[in-house]
Symmetry: C2
Subunit: 429 residues, 2 copies
């Protein structure tokens, strides 16, 4: 008999999932391996930047007061008493009308309070001594990068939970972190179910299709920052699925099954969840595609029954799995980043459920314009390749028109959002 | 004596670099390892999708013509002669007023030409035989996904040189690619020079700073899709640098040195390039930061002398190294993606050279708004962490104001652009 399921709203469904927490762990990696990981600590400036008063140019360090009378007509002469490369320190004290040749980045010698750029001096020799002529006034502090002017010791530069980009790697190196404390990548198990599935290396057979969802989800797991563990493709056999599920749950933080969640006779996910004693949060969501999405909790682990339909599976992952992963890596904007965009084409088909349409966002004259990346139909995979966002089209009785302002979720953005599910509207402005 | 260098424009500099080609190679990886790699072949549909006429719903397959007289008042009865799960094929021929129970995704049996959704039938038993009642007319083709309606065999779905995302992984699996031909990752060597540099694990010393550029560039190489090979930090010693450079060039496709390119006395890069017999394309670019950027060619290898200044080094990599890497991976939009954006703050300081300001882009009501991610000053690293784009502010005699429309380059986008360097303007609209 057909089981009747009550759909819940998308926002409510995501909220239900986010009430649970999976395990979070910390590990230490070498700075060279830190790119793309999530900081498990605040990155604090361990010293002032610059750490000392330094020269931003190649030039000569002087005492500014000695240039008081300098002009084109009356150049002032300075004896060059030494030179100092970046990384060296000038040990002597610089006296009036003395100058020290200084390289970019080097520490300004004691006694000096200005740097004159190389191009602005005339170099010559006077009585066998290297000398420079300066033709204008310099003020105290001219061309000096002062200690702490960029960053003061103790400043929090990057917050815990931030994804490490190349700039953050530079900061880690600057402040002396040869190793970095990062969130351990959550391990997500993947099981594909369905007698109709062939392995990717099998030839096509009548009535069968190749298993694409499992490989797709593994890439989505990697993109979201986790580690995928594939448990293979199972036949539609309850006992086999149950055994595999139990084994997988021992080894992963979350487990995803694809297929086996609709109300057809061969769908075992509900039975498996019951057998495991898992708490089913919902088994139907008011969205297209992906209405037959099931999420369940078992202690610190989550179990997802995603649809066997590739689009639904894709969307289900991004909505319900990704934010759990990213929050477990301390990220406080774990959901996909939301933005307004202009709808690039008509979308006449109304649906009582919210539609999440795979789309591509284009920047047109500084505005975001989003259009479906292919015909959005169940079971169609060819539009997935071009998708970099999801259109959010609220459920209702009318379709949507080109030029309307809508909400989109960006798929390839690392910034994320704290909670994108309020005020999803499509309107003319 | 000071060497006078003639600056060339940014577009001209990038063009000069792109006239050269580094080696491109192909390798085969398992589909599970293909995410983030670049396709070395067109992805062609190896069969129709669907590969057979299939049911998108759970329901009953029937002959549409048998429902001609069906209505609420006059339900038509069908004998259910079998059932067929996804992956199975119904072998018999379906006769008039017979129906076959069919699961989502299963092949429509021979003789049938429509599917009736489960919810729309009444199931009962008539004379011990399973029977359904249908209360409305169905047309030929109703609820059938026809063979090839999504994609026809032979269609090019994804072009060679495209970065593989989760959707493309799904396509690879669907069309039977257990292994994938991808571009080999270019290997980029990194050498840091400068006596002022400490290793990341060394305590600070007077006048010295830690080496941050090398680690930053390694992360940029990884982000751009390459493999970084670190040759360590060299002292400002010509012979040592020359030996290391020669050794590195044996092992890499491109070599990046940071530091040692300004006109200071300890800068050896020009001497090394001369010694190697490399052709110097330019040694000064009309941009801030990064004016003292040197690029040279040696056969199929490129040598980059990037500034020791972190911002300049960062920008130099993205402008001159990244597109060479991505083109070597067959990508035909190898440069950073360009977009218009609204300038979020005043930027009053004029500069005769084009400025490339590290910035953060925000989506405000569907428009891109970009603001500097920190004080943009030479040597400052703390603004690098928050940067996800570069503002392009053309050189000139005037500054720029909040609200102007400017061009930006997106740092964390995988789409790229074919050639972003034409028509860089900042204006009120």
């Amino acid at each position: 008999m057909v089981e009747r399921r009550k759909p819940i709203g998308v926002a409510e469904a995501v909220k239900k999932v986010m009430q649970y927490q999976i395990k979070t762990e910390i590990e230490t990696v070498a700075i060279e391996q830190s790119y793309g990981r999530f900081l498990a600590m605040d990155l604090v400036a361990s010293h002032d930047v610059p750490a000392f008063d330094r020269s931003p140019y190649d030039g000569f360090a002087i005492r500014a007061e000695d240039t008081e009378s300098a002009s084109s007509d009356n150049p002032v002469s300075f004896e060059v008493v030494g030179e100092i490369g970046a990384g060296y320190v000038f040990e002597d004290e610089v006296k009036p009308f003395q100058a020290v040749r200084i390289m970019t980045g080097a520490q300004v010698p004691a006694g000096c309070n200005a740097v004159v750029m190389l191009e602005l001096v005339k170099e010559l020799e006077v009585e066998g001594k290297p000398t420079i002529l300066i033709k204008r006034l310099f003020k105290k502090g001219d061309n000096i990068s002062f200690q702490g002017e960029d960053t003061q010791k103790g400043t929090i530069l990057v917050k815990k939970g931030t994804e490490i980009n190349p700039g953050i790697v530079a900061l880690l190196a600057t402040f002396g972190y040869p190793t970095v404390s990062v969130a351990k990548k959550p391990v997500i198990g993947v099981i594909a179910t369905g007698t109709e599935l062939l392995d990717v290396d099998q030839p096509l057979e009548p009535g069968k299709i190749r298993n694409s969802n499992a490989y797709m989800i593994m890439a989505q797991i990697e993109r979201a920052g986790g580690v995928a563990k594939y448990y293979g493709k199972l036949d539609d056999d309850l006992e086999a699925c149950l055994t595999a599920t139990k084994q997988a749950l021992e080894e992963v933080d979350m487990l995803i099954t694809t297929g086996g969640v609709s109300v057809g006779d061969y769908d075992y996910v509900p039975a498996i969840l019951k057998e495991l004693g898992a708490e089913v949060l919902f088994n139907k969501v008011a969205m297209r595609p992906g209405s037959v999405t099931t999420v369940a909790n078992l202690g610190v682990k989550m179990i997802y029954g995603l649809s066997g339909n590739p689009s639904a599976c894709y969307v289900g992952f991004e909505l319900f799995v990704r934010p759990m992963m990213r929050r477990a890596m301390f990220n406080n904007a774990p959901h996909l980043r939301k933005s307004k965009a202009v709808l690039g084409v008509d979308f006449p088909k109304a649906n009582p459920f919210m539609r999440l349409v795979r789309a591509r966002v284009d920047y047109q004259d500084g505005k975001l314009v989003a259009s479906p990346s292919g015909v959005d139909k169940s079971g169609i995979v060819s539009s997935l390749g071009g998708a970099d966002c999801l259109l959010l089209l609220p459920g209702g009785t009318r379709g949507y028109e080109k030029g309307m302002s809508i909400d989109i979720l960006l798929l390839e953005d690392s910034q994320g959002s704290e909670w994108p599910w309020d005020n999803i509207v499509a309107s003319y402005k």
